[in-house]
Each structure stands twice: as C-alpha cells, then as structure tokens.
Subunit: 115 residues, 2 copies
C-alpha cells in the first residue's frame, strides 16, 4: 500500500506552452507504484486558465475537489463545481476552463492503456 500527500508530489506543467494556460499536474498514482489498470493525477488550473480542446482514446473520470469551472466540447459548455463528478467517454472532445476566482483542483483517473 502507498500513501502520499499531494503537497509532497512534484507539480509540473501539464501541457506544452501555447496549448494551454495555467494548468499543472501532480502524478499521484502511476505504473511505478505497481498500478496495472489505472493512474490518478491531480490537475490544478489557475483562475483564467484552460486546458487544450482535445480528445484521447481512453475514458476519463474526474472529481472536483476545489473551485469551479466549465467544460466545453467545441459546441456546448457546461458548468461544474466542487463535489461534482465528470465522466468523459473515450474519444470525446473536452476542454476545461477555470472561470472562477479560486484555483480549480480536480482528481483525474484514466485506465492504463494496453499495448
């Protein structure tokens, strides 16, 4: 079993410059921990920050720990807030923006991809 506090996990930029703004991540659980089926990352988005509009061939489960924001798919947008759960099926476009006044903190879990 592994236990680690978020504050002790290195925080780094989540996306290449220019593609996103004010998004960092901490890798909380990964293959190096012995995980075989899923990984957990914690994303933080500054007020005014956003991820790229992107998609990937794996599904994506999110839990909003702090703050609020909106999620866009290129056509529509929906608001979310603390204690919301978001599920994004594989290959669905999504972009997250923090249009609130405090940092947005989101727990993100994805399956480990089989080769």
């Amino acid at each position: 079993m592994k236990i680690r506090n978020l504050q002790r996990v290195e925080k780094r930029n989540a996306y290449p410059r220019g593609k996103a703004k004010g998004v960092s991540l901490r890798v909380a659980i990964a293959e190096e921990d012995g995980a075989q089926d899923l990984t957990m990352r914690i994303y933080e988005v500054d007020p005014g920050g956003y991820t790229p509009l992107h998609s990937h061939p794996w599904e994506h489960a999110l839990f909003v720990v702090r703050g609020s924001g909106k999620i866009l798919d290129g056509k529509n947008e929906r608001r979310f807030e603390r204690n919301d759960v978001l599920f994004i099926p594989a290959d669905e476009k999504h972009q997250i923006k923090n249009n609130g006044e405090e940092n947005l903190v989101v727990v993100s879990v994805i399956p480990i991809q089989e080769e």
Copy 2:
C-alpha cells in the same frame, strides 16, 4: 459527457450489517454511464466507523476529500488525512477506520473487471 453533483446521487449502506459500521457509498460513475474501464464511488465513514478488513483481486485508488483516518492490513496501521492519495494493489488486505472527529469522505476508483 456526464456531470453530476454528489449530493444528488443516492447514498446507501456500503457493506452488510455486522461487517462494518457507519460506512455509506455513492456510485458516481458506473457501467450504466458508458464506463468501460473504471468506476468511481464516493465512500463516507462516520466518526468511529470502519470498513471490514477485506481484499479483492483488483487494485484500488483512493483520494481523501475530507476528514482523516487510518488504514490497517491486519498487522500494521498507517494514518492518512485530507489530500492524501492511497494506492492498494490487488489482493492486499485493507481496512479503513475513521478515528477522527469529522466525517471521512474518500473518492474510490477501481477498474471494471473483465469477465
């Protein structure tokens, strides 16, 4: 994409009576939502409550949203608190106890089992 607030998800007892105390769960993301690889549940443990000491053949990722407690494997115990991440490999025994004074709220993600 699905978004739901925890408060709107039905809360139910997590374990049969006698095996645990004061543990409830909300199923936040499941196969009915189109999930193919992972499910997310939110557990709540009352002060003084505990899960059974148990194991299962799938790995288990946890994020502590609120409160604190301890996790036991039948021999040792370790403390955890808010903003801690816990990883329990497949088949490893674990029991969670809330020995704090506020409700313990934990996001739990497990892989969907292949038949």
